[in-house]
């Protein structure tokens, strides 16, 4: 079996909706953002994806292919530091 081919990252996001992706970046757009890569792992388990980064060299991109908050949830962020 040959090496997996790089694919556009947007295509990977569409294919693995609502999963965490670990991508080895192979190409950047003109702004320097990752645009193409080889999918190394996809999983609903974020910890498993980050654990895999231990075993791989190179420029890696970890991202979630979907909304930042689950349906029916709202995110209330904010934080300030007290020394």
């Amino acid at each position: 079996m040959g090496e997996p081919k790089p694919e556009p990252i947007e295509q990977l996001r569409q294919r693995y909706k609502d999963e965490w992706l670990l991508i080895k970046v192979t190409k950047h757009d003109r702004k320097g953002l990752p645009s193409e890569g080889v999918l190394l792992l996809h999983s609903p388990d974020r910890k498993a994806v980050w654990a895999m980064t231990e075993n791989v060299d190179g420029e890696l991109y970890v991202c979630f292919a979907g909304s930042t908050v689950p349906e029916g949830w709202e995110a209330v962020l904010h934080g300030s530091v007290s020394l």
């Binding site: 953002l33 970890v62 007290s82």
Partner: protein, 147 residues
């Protein structure tokens, strides 16, 4: 002038960020958060980047739901929105599992440039603090007025 696209119908503005730590380069998605005084990454991400959280100072953080503890890590480099910052103090703390992003891009990073946001078209525009600011604003106005 740097322009970046975001999904205007998504619940958060996601900014891809390049982090450089002791174990190399990792790209992550951060949520743009002008309510956060500091940039934050999940502590799992900090550990995988090679930072030892027990060896760095910690601070108290007030959040929307109470007070938490965070480690202060010296991020070797953070690149986002066309701006590269070296040796940035970044907070590392556990983020809620339900949050599907690896951190927050806070004001300590954002205030290094002027930032404009077009929510209807999903465009973020950053402008360095420069002498020809008027010209740059004109360029921004052109960009924002186009539909």
């Amino acid at each position: 002038m740097e322009a970046f696209r975001f999904n205007p119908s998504a619940p958060s503005i996601i900014v891809p960020a390049r982090l450089l730590g002791p174990r190399g380069v990792r790209w992550v998605d951060l949520i743009l958060d002008t309510g956060s005084t500091s940039t934050v990454i999940d502590e799992l991400v900090a550990q995988r980047l090679g930072y030892k959280l027990e060896a760095v100072p910690s601070v108290q953080v007030t959040t929307a739901s109470g007070i938490a503890q965070a480690s202060v890590i010296p991020m070797r480099q953070l690149l986002a929105l066309g701006e590269t910052v070296t040796d940035l103090s970044v907070l590392a703390m556990p983020l809620p599992l339900q949050l599907r992003a690896d951190g927050l891009l806070g004001l300590d990073f954002l205030r290094r440039r002027n930032l404009f946001c077009n929510f209807s078209r999903g465009i973020l525009l950053t402008l360095p603090f420069a002498q020809n600011f008027g010209q740059r604003c004109l360029a921004a106005a052109c960009l924002f007025s186009a539909s």
